[in-house]
């Protein structure tokens, strides 16, 4: 295999709320290759979202090293981080974060209209439609979010994450607000993206969904551990 897409070594992060500063991550190691899918399990409050926000360059780690495609980006200035977020990452959250006043197509186009490069309207439209088609809701392009079901909205969000053809998708409990059936549909859409060569890191509480990923990790005590086979088999059973 080529140099890994993502390589985290000894990542630490302490969050300061109102009270005492609390160490959340205390030495996370993680390697993800292109096209690989990884599930991250963990108790609520264990720091899964915190880890994802470091990987997605929303925030910077306190210590450790972050290599992206063989390049050290541990201390990246914000301007370059924004460019990388645009070019390399796609995000899907538990809440869909769609803009109510925009149509599905405009919500997807938001990732293209971000001041990072420019596509003429026609090309933009083609990309947006392709992304919507990929998650099976091209017919809803002109619909606004308030008139869509949760599953449809989440698929719009996935299309928004996919439209720039990112190297890796970061999904933070994308099925948390959906029923089981719809959740499966959404995970299927994410899975399909990995088959096209896109990496995927999925944070989830659902072991069924986790079992569909190539690898399953558990965040516990601020570090990531592989989940042993029996656990998966047991939860998968």
């Amino acid at each position: 295999m080529t140099s890994p897409l993502i390589e985290l070594t000894g990542i630490t992060k302490t969050l300061k709320g109102q009270g005492e500063p609390r160490p959340i991550l205390s030495g996370v190691d993680l390697t993800v290759h292109g096209g690989e899918s990884v599930a991250i399990l963990g108790r609520s409050g264990s720091g899964k979202s915190t880890l994802l926000s470091l990987i997605g360059l929303f925030d910077r780690p306190d210590g450790g090293r972050y290599m992206l495609g063989g390049r050290d980006i541990t201390r990246l200035p914000e301007r370059k981080a924004a460019a990388l977020r645009s070019a390399q990452f796609g995000f899907v959250f538990q809440r869909f974060f769609l803009l109510k006043h925009l149509t599905a197509a405009q919500n997807v186009a938001m990732a293209l209209v971000n001041g990072q490069g420019w596509l003429p309207r026609r090309k933009r439209r083609a990309k947006v439609m392709a992304a919507l088609d990929q998650v099976g809701i091209a017919h809803l392009a002109k619909q606004r979010p308030p008139r869509m079901s949760g599953g449809e909205q989440q698929r719009v969000a996935i299309a928004r994450a996919l439209v720039r053809e990112p190297g890796i998708l970061l999904a933070d409990e994308p099925t948390g607000a959906l029923d089981t059936e719809t959740g499966k549909l959404v995970i299927g859409a994410l899975h399909a993206a990995t088959e096209r060569g896109c990496g995927l890191i999925l944070v989830t509480h659902d072991r069924d969904h986790a079992a569909r990923m190539g690898r399953v990790l558990q965040l516990d005590g601020g570090v990531l551990n592989p989940v042993t086979e029996p656990v998966i088999e047991r939860v998968g059973a």
Binding site: S49, L84, R85, M110, G115, Q116
Partner: protein, 433 residues
């Protein structure tokens, strides 16, 4: 280039979406700002119009800016020396003022002392005081009233319009290039013309100190900006009828030389010859006209007071924009965090917030300028006949500039803090919610 235009286009799209999603808010911001910008526009327009009016009146009654004025006495040989030095010149012109009465002989004119035709009672017989005591000028007050008009007669050695752009009203202006005529040609101002139109006045002109009466020919009427009846005549034509000593007397005649700023040689020659003729050098007063400067200082304090008040009103509008802007950013926290998450640079987000308020300011300025321009035109159309100042009035461009500047400044002040807030929204905390 590519990156810049991509940023610009992105910001246009995002800003446009933001404004379209909040039309009512944009409108409310504009309403809160409108009065302030309107006040600035109106104050500036008023000041510009007043300054323009002051200036054009000053040009008529005193002269164009930069014109040099020499005040000279008429006695002691100054008059012949001046007439001789300035003969045939156009860059320096002497104007000798005296009183004249045109009409029936030995009567009291309808406007004793060259008062206004409509309001002659206000003036009464003119009284001049000198070391020998005070005495009445012109015909004795006890003379019977008759058909005669008193006016201020100005004898000119050249075309004074080079310095004072009198506006032609009817007929012709004096021709200084032809040979002097034996019957003096005179041009009236509008106030004098009013008198000639109202009273049937015989063409006989008496001038203080003259030995015989002249028969003037009225060849035209001009607007000289003056309120008193006045007439203009070529000095050489007038002097066919009276000795120079008649003008050089102590009876109220005065002499003024107007010269252009670069006619220094003539001025020097005139000065030297006057001193040679026995005049004290310090008796020659020179003054350079600066009506613009005077008008400015006269208006400056007023303008600043009014602009200050307008600024306060504008500040209330800024507070309104700021209030709406902060509320909007608060409402859009998730949108901005999301946009940052998909890679929009924070500077672009700040720029979008700022340009939305700047656009609001500009739209408000356009509305305020449009309203003032239309109102000014309406006022000009309705009152133009009665108030000459408002005739053919145009919206001063300075007021437009002031409005745009006020709108932009308000947009900048009102948008700055919201823009900073927008740029500082952390992505992580919002996305974790």
């Amino acid at each position: 280039m590519m990156r810049l235009s991509g940023r610009l286009r992105s910001s246009l799209i995002i800003g446009g979406q933001g404004i379209r999603a909040r039309k009512l808010r944009t409108l409310l911001s504009m309403v809160s700002l409108f009065l302030g910008v309107l006040a600035v526009v109106v104050v500036q327009a008023g000041a510009s119009i007043a300054e323009h009016a002051l200036l054009s009146e000053a040009e008529l009654t005193q002269g164009k800016d930069g014109t040099r004025q020499l005040f000279l006495p008429t006695e002691g040989g100054a008059l012949p020396v001046t007439l001789d030095t300035l003969r045939g010149r156009s860059d320096a012109v002497a104007a000798i003022q005296s009183m004249a009465i045109i009409g029936e002989p030995r009567v009291r004119p309808v406007n004793p002392g060259a008062g206004r035709i409509d309001d002659p009672a206000g003036s009464g017989p003119e009284v001049v005081c000198d070391p020998r005591g005070c005495h009445q000028v012109g015909d004795a007050a006890e003379a019977p009233p008759g058909k005669a008009i008193a006016l201020q007669l100005t004898a000119l050695t050249g075309d004074i319009r080079t310095f004072r752009p009198f506006r032609p009203y009817a007929g012709q202006w004096l021709d200084f290039s032809s040979a002097p005529s034996l019957s003096p040609r005179i041009v009236l101002n509008r106030e004098a013309a009013k008198g000639f139109a109202r009273y049937h006045v015989p063409a006989q002109m008496r001038i203080d100190g003259a030995t015989a009466d002249a028969t003037p020919r009225i060849i035209g009427v001009v607007d000289d900006g003056g309120y008193q009846p006045a007439a203009y005549v070529r000095a050489d034509e007038l002097l066919n009828w009276l000795p120079e000593t008649a003008l050089a007397g102590d009876r109220g005649a005065s002499m003024l030389v107007l010269s252009s700023p670069d006619a220094t040689a003539v001025e020097r020659t005139l000065r030297a010859r006057l001193v040679g003729a026995g005049m004290a050098p310090d008796a020659i007063h020179v003054e350079t006209l600066d009506a613009r400067g005077h008008a400015r200082t006269e208006l400056a304090i007023m303008r600043w007071i009014f602009l200050g008040m307008a600024g306060l009103v504008l500040l209330i509008g800024v507070a309104g924009i700021l209030n709406v802007g902060l509320a909007t950013v608060g409402e859009r926290i998730e949108e901005f965090a999301l946009r940052r998450a998909v890679g929009t640079p924070r500077s672009l987000l700040a720029g979008i917030v700022l340009s939305e308020t700047l656009l609001t300011g500009l739209l408000t300025a356009a509305a305020a300028i449009g309203v003032s321009a239309v109102a000014l035109r309406a006022v000009g159309a309705v009152l133009g006949d009665r108030v000459p100042l408002l005739q053919g009035i145009v919206f001063p461009w300075q007021a437009g500039v002031a409005g745009v500047v006020a709108g932009l400044v308000a947009g900048l002040l009102g948008g700055f803090i919201p823009a900073l807030r927008a740029a500082r929204i952390p992505i992580a905390t919002v996305m974790r919610a």
